[in-house]
């Protein structure tokens, strides 16, 4: 499930435009929606790089979802951390690619626990075991698959970037 050359090209082309949107999962981050499933009409971005490789782009995420959970993507988002952004803890199936930086990912059965720990001032001193939270790192260039039995939250540092495909 490594990103293909053309998907990297589509995502990297965003930097040529430098235009960032708001996404409710990533408040105050610089984000960009490529695709969002909608009960009335799906949303597709309109960048030429995406339109030129639209089929390949969607086939990649479709195949990944079918293989893992037998389902299609609900949204495909890019997010780059700013000086004040957040990732709102989620309890859904997702594949997360670390595009830039080694990215902290906290996993816990209980989503509320992740909501209570959105600000961690010293990751070394934090008592993970006591709080039943598992800290992970997604190395730059790698990806992380998570199902919906556990909740997860990205703790990103300024300048770090992810591609986030949500499946449930």
């Amino acid at each position: 499930m490594q990103l293909t050359k053309n998907i990297k090209y589509i995502v990297n082309s965003l930097h040529d435009y430098g235009v960032w949107q708001h996404e409710q999962m990533f408040p105050w981050m610089d984000s960009f929606a490529f695709f969002k499933q909608d009960s009335q009409e799906n949303y597709y971005t309109s960048t030429p790089e995406y339109l030129d490789h639209k089929e390949e782009f969607h086939n990649f995420f479709e195949k990944s979802g079918q293989k893992l959970w037998n389902c299609s993507p609900i949204e495909i988002l890019y997010a780059k951390q700013t000086d004040k952004g957040l990732h709102v803890p989620q309890k859904n199936s997702a594949i997360i690619w670390a595009l830039k930086g080694d990215i902290k990912l906290l996993v816990c059965e209980n989503r509320d626990r992740l909501l209570y720990t959105m600000a961690i001032h010293d990751y070394n001193l934090f008592n993970w075991k006591n709080r039943k939270i598992s800290p992970n790192i997604i190395k730059e260039g790698e990806f992380f698959v998570i199902g919906n039995l556990h909740a997860h939250a990205l703790h990103m540092e300024e300048g770090q970037e992810v591609l986030y495909a949500r499946y449930s």
């Binding site: 040529d16 949107q21 929606a33 309109s46």
Partner: protein, 262 residues
């Protein structure tokens, strides 16, 4: 005749930066006269009551006559535009003694008052607004009143009411009709009633029933539907939607890349 186009552009503080670059690039590319451009942004207008506005800059256009000292001619446009034809040609339009030049919006919803008056839809659209600043004084209140406007509707509707909304015939000596190609709403002709559309309908017409303009027929493209705007400004509460004109989107992104590289 003034030898500079005095253009005011309503925009947000920093959420429309790329749209602004695209618009400026196209304006300067096509202009035959020097452009004197003033951006109207919230940070430059502290204290304005903006509670009924649809965008961060909705009613700043009504500060233009004041900013011009109620003299001369000025052009106002929103930022979400792409210019394809010399803006000086628009600026030089003879207003024939009228206060404003605007494009007719056949689908403008005139509300309950309009329906009661037998004109449910159709009035002037102020997103491209050519102004005789002296004559406009009669229809635009002193700036202090505009700043403090606290009714439950935008000040825009007050100006439209003074102009005679919803009665087009009352505006004949007040508003000069601009060619609709100067304000093409998302690639359509705003002055045309969509095929088979009942103006009394509360529903919006189907996209495919609207009159569409080919790209080379558009003089000024207005990306007016917030949910369709390709850059999706962070302030819009509307859901993202795919613009139904991929040809216009390709052109916008192409221009964005050029404008960003300058």
């Amino acid at each position: 005749m003034q030898d500079t186009v005095k253009l005011f552009i309503g925009t947000s503080d920093n959420h429309d930066d790329l749209a602004q670059k695209v618009y400026l690039y196209t304006l300067f590319k096509n202009a035959s006269m020097p452009l004197d451009i003033v951006f109207l942004r919230p940070k430059d207008f502290p204290g304005w009551n903006r509670k009924t506005w649809g965008t961060p800059f909705t009613c700043y256009r009504y500060a233009v006559p004041h900013l011009m000292g109620y003299k001369g001619k000025a052009l106002y446009t929103d930022v979400d535009m792409v210019n394809f034809r010399d803006i000086a040609a628009l600026y030089k339009t003879d207003l024939e003694g009228k206060a404003f030049g605007m494009v007719w919006d056949a689908l403008q919803d005139n509300g309950k008052e309009g329906a009661k008056a037998g004109n449910p839809r159709g009035f002037w659209c102020d997103s491209v607004l050519l102004i005789d600043c002296e004559k406009a004084q009669e229809f635009v209140d002193p700036i202090d009143k505009v700043i403090k406007w606290d009714k439950n509707y935008s000040y825009k509707w007050e100006v439209m009411r003074k102009l005679g909304s919803p009665h087009k015939e009352k505006t004949h000596n007040l508003v000069h009709m601009l060619d609709a190609r100067w304000n093409s709403f998302d690639g359509t002709n705003p002055a045309a009633i969509p095929r088979g559309f009942d103006l009394w309908s509360k529903e919006n017409p189907r996209w495919e029933d609207k009159e569409h303009l080919e790209l080379d027929m558009i003089w000024q493209l207005h990306l007016t539907s917030l949910s369709y705007q390709p850059w999706h400004p962070k302030y819009t509460p509307h859901a993202k939607a795919t613009h139904p004109r991929p040809d216009l989107m390709r052109e916008w992104w192409r221009l964005a890349k050029i404008a960003n590289s300058l």
